[in-house]
Symmetry: C2
Subunit: 150 residues, 2 copies
C-alpha cells in the first residue's frame, strides 16, 4: 500500500499550489488584455461552445461552474463581438441554443496559436519531462474539481 502523505505536507503543497495558481492566473489575464481582445474567461467560454456544438446558456454556466447571470453577460459580450450565434431552442421556448460561428472559429484558432504563446514560450524553456509534469498537473487540477456537486 502507498505511504500516507502527512496532512502537514498536504497543507504546504496546497498553499504553494494555491499561490502559484493565483499568480499565474493573474499573469494570464494581463497577457490577454494586451494581445487578443478576449479575456481568459471569454476564451474559455468560446472554447466550451466550440467543443459543445449547440448548447444552452444554462449548460454552459454549469460547464464553466459559473452562475447563469454571469454567463448571460459573457455571452452578450461574445455576441457583440460577432463570434457566436443564437437560435431559439425548438424544444423549449424559454431557452436558446448557442453556437460558434466562422468568425469565432477563426478567432479561436488564432487565439490558440497566439495566446498559448505566453505559456508555450515558457514551456519551451523547460525539459520535456517538466512539460510532462505540467501536462499531468493540468489533468489532475481538472479531475480534482470534478467531484464538486454544489
Amino acid at each position: 500500500m502507498a505511504a500516507r502523505t502527512p496532512d502537514t505536507d498536504l497543507s504546504d503543497t496546497a498553499s504553494r499550489l494555491r499561490n502559484a495558481i493565483v499568480r499565474t492566473s493573474r499573469a494570464l489575464r494581463q497577457e490577454a488584455a494586451g494581445e487578443s481582445g478576449l479575456s481568459p474567461t471569454q476564451t474559455a467560454v468560446l472554447a466550451s461552445i466550440s467543443r459543445s456544438g449547440l448548447v444552452t446558456p444554462s449548460e454552459l454556466a454549469r460547464l464553466e461552474r459559473v452562475k447563469r447571470p454571469t454567463m448571460t453577460r459573457t455571452l452578450a459580450c461574445l455576441e457583440r463581438e460577432g463570434l457566436i450565434e443564437r437560435t431559439p431552442d425548438p424544444a423549449d421556448g424559454r431557452s436558446s441554443l448557442v453556437a460558434i460561428n466562422e468568425a469565432g472559429r477563426e478567432r479561436l484558432a488564432r487565439l490558440r496559436r497566439r495566446k498559448s504563446a505566453y505559456l508555450a514560450s515558457r514551456l519551451r524553456k523547460l525539459d520535456p519531462e517538466e512539460v510532462e509534469t505540467l501536462s499531468r498537473a493540468a489533468e489532475l487540477l481538472d479531475r480534482m474539481r470534478e467531484d464538486e456537486r454544489p
Copy 2:
C-alpha cells in the same frame, strides 16, 4: 540527448494548462468568498509581506506583478482589517514600510489551515505520487514566471 518536444504538443499542453488554471483560480476565489474574509489576492499579498519582513508598497507591487495603484488598494484593505502596520521609511520620505502584525500572523496561520483545506481535501483523494506531481507543478509555474522582466 532528450527528444525535442514538438511545438504542437507544447501548444496543446499550454492550452489545457491555461484552462485548468483559469477554472481552478475561479473555484478558489469562490471558496475564499465564503470562508475567510480574505480573497486569494489579499491572502497572497499578506503572505508576501510576511515573507518579506519590512517592505515598501512598490516592492510588493513588483513581487506580486501588479501595478502600484492596485497594491495601494489591497494594502488599504489589509490595514482596515488591522492585519498590517505601516511606518514611515526613514530612508525615503515618499515611501512607507509595511509589516505584518500579530493579528496578521494569526490570521495567516488560520488561513493556511482553513483555506488550504479546499485544495488539501482534494489532494487527500489523490495518490502520493499525484500530489508530488502537483507540488512540482507549483514550483515549475513559479519558475516559469520568474524570467519575466517587463
